[in-house]
Symmetry: C2
Amino acid sequence: MINDAPQVDVERLVGELQALAAISDCPEPPPAVTRVVFTETDLRARDYLRSLYEAAGLTVRVDPIGNTFARWHGSDPKASAVGTGSHCDAIPHAGMYDGTVGVLSGLEAIRALQASGYQPRRSIEVVMFTSEEPTRFGVGCTGSRLMSGAMSPADLAKLTDEADDDYDTVRRRAGFTGELSEVRLPGDYYDAFVELHIEQGPELEAGDLAIGAVTAIAAPAQANFTVTGEGGHAGAVLMPRRRDALVAAAEMIAAIDSIARASRSPDLVATVGKLEVHPGAVNSIPSKVTFSLDLRDIDGANRDAVLKQIEVETEQIATRREVQLEHRTLNADPPATSDPRIVDAVVQSATSLGQAHQKMISRAYHDSLFMARVAPMGMIFIPCRGGVSHRPDEYSSPEALAAGVQTLALTLAELAR
Amino acid sequence: MINDAPQVDVERLVGELQALAAISDCPEPPPAVTRVVFTETDLRARDYLRSLYEAAGLTVRVDPIGNTFARWHGSDPKASAVGTGSHCDAIPHAGMYDGTVGVLSGLEAIRALQASGYQPRRSIEVVMFTSEEPTRFGVGCTGSRLMSGAMSPADLAKLTDEADDDYDTVRRRAGFTGELSEVRLPGDYYDAFVELHIEQGPELEAGDLAIGAVTAIAAPAQANFTVTGEGGHAGAVLMPRRRDALVAAAEMIAAIDSIARASRSPDLVATVGKLEVHPGAVNSIPSKVTFSLDLRDIDGANRDAVLKQIEVETEQIATRREVQLEHRTLNADPPATSDPRIVDAVVQSATSLGQAHQKMISRAYHDSLFMARVAPMGMIFIPCRGGVSHRPDEYSSPEALAAGVQTLALTLAELAR
């Protein structure tokens, strides 16, 4: 344990966040950010991070799918390490704080501890997970899924992107080689893993709180729906003869919204975020529509019941509209519970810093959901303005960032003693 | 008038249709066709047509937006010409008969008349209209709209495609220069214009008829809708706080379908063929959705009343869903009536050939809708299997094609006397 509040250089941290945001494929300038895994832009962001790690004297290791570990060696090389970190990929037209704050705050926490003269017994590692976002391959957290054994190398290798290239080909093309089986971490690799993240919700701001100590992560499920009707010329096929795939899909999307709003769990959320129309011409009746479903709840059983209800009601709509419906569940992960020892360390660190805090649940999922399978896990949330995330106007103030890094630094120091 | 049935080489015609279908950007092979205006593929198709025209001894003229006129000179060079023709562009993943049949049948009819020894007094011209399909610029029939004065050169020039390039820039880049004001045809240019087209509906096939003599073309309207809600992370924003643009748009699309099905006119059809979701990520709440509306009726007043009703009901949905709605009517053209003299010429030609025929209405719109503003207009329909169009399985038999070309040839001969 260290006694004083670690000296955090928040200007440096904000500068690094801005430099990272400038590495983007978004047509709009920062703070709008697009950074999709295994693109040139993703690779440039990785190079930038490596330069920061090396400047801080950390030892960098990259695994066969690009998960990156930057280690500050502890005095006991045989002891399991303490991990922190998050991701740096960003969905199209997103903001500059989601994920990046967890990676750069981990680095800043280490620099602050180094400056304080603290010497860890356990090594402390900052992890940058590959592809937390599901943008390219349809499944999120592929880095941490493979690390934790939540997904097999064979299943990962055959995920495909929109160009129909498989994950294995794309990662190799990006320069990440080696055997996928080597990505999985041994069970004793981490003694503790703690991720700092913006809340992506409104609770901390509303309660004027600086720190959330996450006790559990909600259970996400993802599914794809394909509706097949009959195309034709928009002028020539009269209404009673139509089997319009988009009209049927529209009715399904409205039904999904109604089901989610009527759920017994107030935490259940359902989102159709992606939809594609075939052939997609102004004067052509849609013959095929595909759409995604993202369904989450902190109550895993309720989430599964709602997924079942959605399947039943969309099938009924398909029957009535005389279209075919296929749905495929891509993943339906169980919720994760934080390790009480880590939650306590976060709470005590915030308390000793005089930061207002609360225990809370994460409704968004994170790499920590999967890290919980291979290590005792905890998370630290900091407030973001209006609870906004995945948008260019996502924002956490320098004060919020500083409080987060200080809490993280004390927590890591405690866990690495 | 010629006395014998013109000798049509239907094998040659089918071969030319297939050759044209092979000039395609569709990833699937013919009969699937994609040929969008001013692409390399469109230009290759135009080159192919020119080679056929020149082999038939026709004089080719191309106007400043690429409308192409192939003239068989009549004995009286001062007399207004007789026009026929259609378009060769194809929406994504379409078939090989829509439009192309009208262009190549016009050529085949001329070749048949030439072979018969017939000499026209009026010149006979095959027209290939630029961009009948609205795929690229959101508005269909730009070639015939400009020819007929239905659209001003200034309005045409500023239409934009998805890359945000304007029509004027794109046509120049494709090699079509000259002043847009020169495209408009003088009122005495054509003494008659008659277009042959597949029906794109089921009536002729159902009635076992070879020829439809079109008496009127339904009135189309097109509008764009933009729904703006609030984005955010799919996991973090609870259902009661959501203003999801896609859920609102879905409700609107279902409402449009209901309104169209309940319309007092059985000929009213409403289609949402194109929809785009922003940002379009699996785990992001849609903040913006744009969709197209295509609305047609042979009763122009009913169509306008339905458009009004759609505007009112979608506004109500927007208010209830707390999203913003903008709608913009791109065009709402009046219906067109065929010239009785041309309808009679078609009917008499079919009768003299012993082809079963009927007078009928066109529910799809065509370049002839606009040509009616600048010339006496008529259309000849031939059956297509199952009424299917705008799909790869669009099909008209060689027999149907032969009957159509013969009827067209006799009609042109009668009109060009």
